[in-house]
Amino acid sequence: MSFLEINDLKVHFPIRGGVLNTIKDHVYAVDGVSFSIDEGKTYGLIGESGSGKTTIGKAIVGLEEPTDGEILYYGQQVNKKRLRKKVNYNREVQMIFQDVLSSLDPKKRVRDIIAEPIRNYEKLTENQELEKILTLLNIVGMPPDALYKYPHEFSGGQRQRIGVSRAVAVNPKLIVADEPVSALDLSVQAQILNFLKMIQKDFNLSYLFISHDLGVVKHMCDYIYIMYRGRFVETGTREDIYNNPQHIYTKKLVAAIPEIDVENREALRRNRIKVEQEYSEKESLFYDQNGRVFDLVQLSDTHYVAIKNKEDLQDVENSIA
């Protein structure tokens, strides 16, 4: 069941100028996206830098004020601070960041870092609180002596685990994870991803996974949104996106993944060049004259693509199973 619904969300940033410092134009960071989030599911938000994916994440947790559109939590508008407070929304939706070190207060000990959300939202005695923190540390696989250490005393992977334990401390429903493993080495990344999957089951969590790494998103996510210039170009299940991409941008993205496939690398390269060519040839079918992405058109129960005319998609009918 979906508990969070985002309708036609827009976040525009003004560009100011002139003698009177008036608004001259806007940056359309997020320009009309809609989606919903079900319990216990993982959603992937993919896009290049500047595509607006992080802005969506920030708007959802309330770090960015939407210009327009609705964010409905169980049908309640939560796009204003006052409204969020009323339904205890900030407790239910937490965020973890790529740059964990700067998201953890360097002058606080781990105990106080994790305790912060608990103190904000729950009335616990000191002993209960400590017990809870120890349980959380145990869940994320950190020893109890971590309690009285400072963030800088840990490695990148450990810090990310502290970040996660802070996020899950108040049993949220949704965690917005903004590039949570991008800065980590492969083996540490695997650790964090496994761990996120494990606590998902335990807490019945939903994730909104923001990333540019298609491998990670593919591994983690049930449903994937591909973003370009503030809008969705294609949305679908893992299979829809990776096995049957329809938008030229998605195709380019999928073709660009450096696969661990030495044997076929020449073929992959040729395909990449072919896709690049297709991209420049068919641009007008997928973007309007201002370069804006068209609205999404439904292809199957789960698969949507942004295109002017559905008829322009070749081979679509055959390839949908």
């Binding site: 492969l186 695997a190 999957k197 591994h219």
Partner: protein
């Protein structure tokens, strides 16, 4: 691959000073680079892969670094080079491409000037000729409007464009060797593919040998002819790329490959390597350095002082622990 060896590294040790004590950041590294090939050096952060690159052209701060061993280029051991001698090969014979294209360009100089700079020191071209050559280089790296770009500052370009500019700088004197240190890590996937394809294309034109330093096994698989896998300052496996991916032997290589989120990993747990990469200071230098990460493998399986052994033609593996290596199935984190 043509069989002309252009660079040979023998028993290289590079040590850094911490509080009056030197610690080896790389230990007993031997590699060779051939004309027109891509040699990948892959490993996690801190494994020493960038240290190798800096050692080749002497970019370390000499007050804090000690190197020993040999790096043979043109029949000479460049480790004995003076700063002046180094400056004759840097940029001319050996081109460098770095990870962060924005930080790697001087923010206050126009693009054109930054490319022409190496021409000033390495060629006899006059001002007009340098300008011509610069525009030609920009064109060569796929920049559509060289004249306009040459007059812009780094911050005015996109990440991909900047990396093209860095490649143009590296190519400017038609080097015999290009060292690319994580050249695409800071870029978006689609741009990464373009840059890597460009590198391949350019290599065909100038027949340089490329040393590609990366942490991304996908990039290795797509780009390289041979690979050296590094762990804690040592090469643990060294083979042709095809061989390495079809027949990985060292436990570290196998573990890494298992921990990549891939198509077939969906729904499964990723493999996690136990423990942590040791820091330079705490590293135990005796015995197999990977042993603490695979504690279920008996001590007797490891070599006392592990060497890089040739286990099949051109396939080298350090230590003997690979022979009976098996994963533990508790996965875990």
């Amino acid at each position: 691959m043509e069989d002309e060896k252009i660079l040979e590294i023998k028993d290289l040790h590079t040590a850094f000073r911490f509080q009056d004590e030197y610690f080896d950041a790389i230990d007993d590294v031997s590699l060779s680079l051939y004309k027109n090939e891509v040699l990948a050096i892959v490993g996690e952060s801190g494994c020493g892969k960038s240290t190798i690159a800096n050692s080749i052209v002497g970019l370390h701060d000499k007050n804090f670094t000690k190197t020993s061993g040999e790096i043979i280029y043109n029949g000479e051991n460049v480790l004995n080079y003076s700063e002046d001698q180094y400056n004759k090969i840097r940029g001319k014979e050996i081109g460098f491409i770095f990870q962060d294209p924005l930080a790697s360009l001087n923010p206050l100089h126009k693009i054109g000037i930054q490319i022409e700079e190496s021409l000033i020191y390495h060629t006899n071209l006059n001002k007009g000729q340098r300008h011509e050559r610069m525009l030609q280089l920009l064109d060569q790296v796929g920049i559509i409007n060289p004249k306009r770009i040459a007059n812009q500052f780094p911050h005015q370009l996109s990440g991909g464009m900047r990396q093209r500019v860095l490649i143009a700088i590296a190519l400017s004197c038609k080097p015999k060797i290009i060292i690319a240190d994580e050249p695409t890590t800071a870029l978006d996937v689609t741009i990464q593919a373009q840059i890597l394809d460009l590198l391949t294309e350019l290599q065909d034109e100038i027949n340089a040998g490329i040393i590609l330093i990366t942490h991304d096994l996908g990039v290795v698989a797509q780009m390289s002819d041979r690979v050296a896998v590094m762990y804690a300052g040592q090469i643990v496996e060294y083979a042709e790329t095809k061989e390495l991916f079809s027949n990985p032997l060292h436990p570290y290589t196998r573990s890494l490959l298992q921990s990549i989120p891939q198509a077939d990993s969906v729904g499964e747990e990723l493999h996690v390597i136990k423990g942590m990469v040791p820091s330079l200071k705490n590293l135990v230098r005796e015995g197999c350095r990977f042993a603490p990460r695979i504690p279920w493998i008996l001590e007797s399986e490891h070599e006392k002082s592990p060497m890089l052994n040739e286990v099949s033609k051109n396939h080298f593996v350090r230590c003997t622990c690979w022979k009976n290596f098996h994963f533990r199935d508790d996965g875990g984190y």
